[in-house]
Subunit: 555 residues, 2 copies
């Protein structure tokens, strides 16, 4: 019998689609771009339980009214060692037996350390239910290695509530060859406010955001979904596939350079979860605790996707999609992926580019080196970094991030009754704005009977911001802010992708000690932000675009 190492498990567990379709492809990527890692990518799919556990954790936290956010502090707490402890009250199982429990009918078991867990009843409640099944009957360790945000005291406690037994000592898993996918993460700016370390998710302080119309790479928020791939530009290639005709092209960076004339596009990119922390004040939601700085505005340089798709002999139609796959992959080698409507990609006025420069600099690793897609006006999640593959298909991407994440729901819809297929994947983002200075709760000096406010405003779909209104008396009086934005000739409405910075000096009453300040933006379709988070609440905490409201002390 083969030794039960993680290295061996990968052979039996990789999912069929991957084996059939993408294996060669990913092998190649692995060879080209993840040289060191490819030797070590030995992860099994069994660990998908991590996601289950994470979701359970969330649900429990929600019940407790506790906000979900895996913090560094969590990880520093001493973890309970349940998974290293024999539970004398429970039976012992051999791995052959455990492995039989790999379907709903036979119950779904998983192992962590020497613990055996039955997670069957939880599966239907998890967005990645189909993924969980891939790991049925196997060990959790490889996935926990990647999804370290689940590696917290709370998750371990909840996991233990699923415990049904102990792994037989002869079947203990040797994890000594487990590759650490995080070992080559780039160094990050210290000033970042970190929402999660692995994958890295962080935003700059809000006051830094409004200092410059173009956000430097160092100030630009980072939203990674997986470990950052290490890519050698000399061997880097992108594969382009036209599913209808079967035509494919594989182009290196140099070939792209030679064939296509780069263009410059000013565009803001905003995370779908930006300002989630404000929605969290209504009640807990699943997702990273983003402040209001998961957004940035840059001048991007890159190749027009529309030009490349023409060479791929793609014909315009109303219903096809363009899949964008990154070179960042999960333990099953499944890449981060998203799709956008073909319409957007083919429209020269849609300005979708494969960007290799940001404000005149090559992209940093955290921002997608060597190439990320910039899909102006569209939620950050579709602006795929470390682009590896582009597929034109009649179907939307079936990635988790397209189908079971980044969607909006009615306030009373919950995790348990969400019909994911009925809700469209977020593409164009709605109008929003934020007050960046002063900070909420801060003390502000009054000068000449006024205080100065600064912030940003943006709307997806190419819609220009036409007005930002500010009130200090809960809407009785509204003041109109000054805007800094690209002018109409450069970026007309419908093709205005950049953000607008705004400034205003509002008069304050001499006797006021405290001031409530609200801001709202109006875009060129005259859509306006909704007033409160209560009525736009959604359990994923996305699309948090209600009025920006702060309270400050006057001195």
């Amino acid at each position: 019998m083969q030794a039960l190492t993680c290295r061996n498990l990968v052979k039996t567990c990789l999912r069929k689609e991957f084996q059939n379709r993408s294996f060669a492809n990913f092998q190649k990527f692995a060879k080209n771009h993840h040289q060191k890692q490819s030797q070590k990518l030995l992860l099994t799919t069994s660990g998908v339980l991590a996601a289950v556990i994470g979701a359970t954790y969330l649900i429990n936290q929600r019940k407790l009214g506790v906000v979900n956010c895996a913090t560094t502090a969590d990880k520093q707490k001493k973890k309970p060692l349940y998974f290293k402890t024999i539970r004398a009250d429970l039976p012992t199982y051999r791995r052959d037996e455990i492995r039989k429990h790999n379907s709903i009918e036979n119950r779904v078991w998983l192992t962590y350390g020497i613990g055996v867990y039955d997670v069957t009843d939880f599966i239907p409640r998890h967005p990645g239910a189909e993924n969980i099944m891939l790991g049925a009957g196997e060990a959790i360790e490889p996935f926990w290695n990647t999804y370290q945000q689940h590696n917290t005291i709370e998750v371990l406690r909840i996991l233990e509530t699923f415990r049904i037994g102990n792994v037989h000592p002869d079947d203990a898993l040797d994890t000594s060859d487990l590759y650490d996918p995080w070992i080559n993460e780039p160094k990050r700016e210290k000033k970042f406010i970190v929402a999660a370390e692995r994958p890295f998710n962080a935003e700059p302080p809000a006051e830094d955001l409004v200092k410059n119309f173009y956000t430097s790479q160092k100030d630009f928020y980072v939203r990674n979904h997986l470990p950052v791939p290490e890519i050698d530009i000399k061997t880097y290639e992108i594969e382009f596939v036209n599913e209808k005709s079967g035509k494919t092209m594989t182009l290196s960076f140099d070939e792209l350079r030679k064939r296509y004339k780069p263009v410059e596009v000013t565009a803001a990119i905003m995370c779908g979860g930006n300002r989630r922390s404000e929605m969290m004040e209504v009640r807990a939601v699943k997702g990273l605790r983003w402040g209001q700085s998961a957004v940035g505005n840059a001048k991007w340089k890159g190749f027009r996707l529309a030009d490349i798709l023409k060479d791929l002999e793609v014909e315009q139609n109303e219903t096809d999609h363009v899949h964008l796959e990154g070179l960042d992959t999960d333990p099953t080698y499944t890449p981060y992926a998203a799709s956008i409507p073909l319409n957007k990609a083919m429209d020269p006025r849609g300005d979708v580019i494969l960007a290799f420069e940001m404000n005149g600099e090559p992209l940093s690793r955290d921002h997608g080196f060597p190439i990320r897609v910039v899909t102006p006006g569209i939620v950050g999640a579709r602006n795929v970094k470390w682009l590896g593959r582009v597929v034109v298909s009649k179907d939307e991407s079936n990635s988790h991030w397209q189908q079971k994440d980044y969607k909006g729901f009615s306030p009373s819809t919950d995790f348990d009754n969400a019909e994911w297929e009925k809700s469209p994947a977020i593409q164009n983002m709605p109008v929003t704005s934020a007050i960046c200075t002063p900070a909420n709760g801060s003390k502000v000096k009054v000068k000449n009977g006024e205080i100065e406010l600064k912030g940003y405003a943006w709307s997806g779909g190419g819609n220009r911001i036409v007005r930002v209104d500010v009130t200090t008396d809960e809407g009785k009086t509204w003041h109109v802010a000054e805007l800094e934005q690209e002018d109409n000739a450069k970026a007309p409405s419908g093709r205005h992708w950049g953000w607008s910075l705004w400034t205003i000096k509002v008069p304050v009453d001499k006797n006021s000690k405290e001031l409530k300040i609200w801001a709202k933006a109006v875009d060129s379709n005259y859509n306006v932000q909704p007033e409160s988070f209560e009525n736009i609440f959604n359990f994923r905490g996305v699309l948090s675009n209600a009025y920006s409201k702060i309270k400050v002390q006057l001195t």
Copy 2:
């Protein structure tokens, strides 16, 4: 000295632009299309005071907290005959003297009947200030003939406050040759709720609106700005002008038919003032008291404007505009006019058509016979009826309706401090919805513990409605309505011009006697309606897209 008839006044007062550019054109239109009227179009520009008076009226009404709405009842009240009465306390003036007062420096005088009025101080406060000046020193009658909405007891009273003298009996105006531009208005549906008779503005009862996905011509709201022109399709022509190249084309209906293949487009058209009556509950605004039925949805058939512009050798660019001029004209022969961005007109996916059919029928006179422009996704005001002229220009239309009307402002901006040039003309409309049945304030039977609600939802810019949420407990619980709409393959997001009808059965508490119901729609950009009219209030009462809120009694 020439007799002082209205016929003669026209020769001296027509404004320069008209004389230089459009006179020949309008003469031709007059000859071709307004045969009877052309003999009688004898109106002078002096009457532009009507607008001044109207605005004064509004301002006074606002001060009084009275809503502006010229009703039939107003007109039936016995009017004061100030203008037929000599004021012995005031001096008498000859028309030569009156005519000298035709500038701000010399004061601006106008006459009505035997009254002389000095309106100088009011001029800066009126959006049509530049038009008022055209009538300086002249008589008001010809304009009052067209703008009959000002012909009310309140306006006459206010006019009299401007009185400074009496017209010398020898200079009385002979109005016997004054043409009545309203004499050939079409017959209207009796069921219409009439917001104004002249020009005709009316909407169907809301419950009729939601009976059919396609709104019949008889149920489709009518928003006219001027008298309906009488047009003979045999002599009807449209002039197309490319200002840059100088190229022009004049095409008859038959020529359009021969040259261009018609296409069908499903599109809702909504008045910019739809639902104004709800905003009026916050405070008075200028404009017609529209309910929620100034909207309709139809299948339009017509010629693609993009095809015609290609033949006009128009080249796509980001900043040009397409002017659309109707054959409905004011007393200075100035046509109703609007413009849309060239981008929209040139984009085959923009679906701008010159429509000649509505739900398979030729357009009725009230809906623009023989051709109206359909600019899908864009405010009704740019869907110009009785199309006479199309001009591609580097500038936006300078018509009153483009520059000084149909714009949004901040809630605290008022008539007096509005900077019209800073606010963009409304093009794409924001997301909205309305509860059509039951009616607000009505009694509703509860069946099986539920009541049924129906309504419409729509968003401009081609944005599909993705959800309508309904609450009966002020937002504590939201229910998701069923939608009836064109499917994604026919009308994908970004090109979804039709409305969505929605239905929902909401459970009601047995013990409730009264129910507050709110509805809000979400579009494919995930923009959502704002909650209240207070914070989107604007003094023109446009863009009234807050939550639809009603209260009903349960039986």
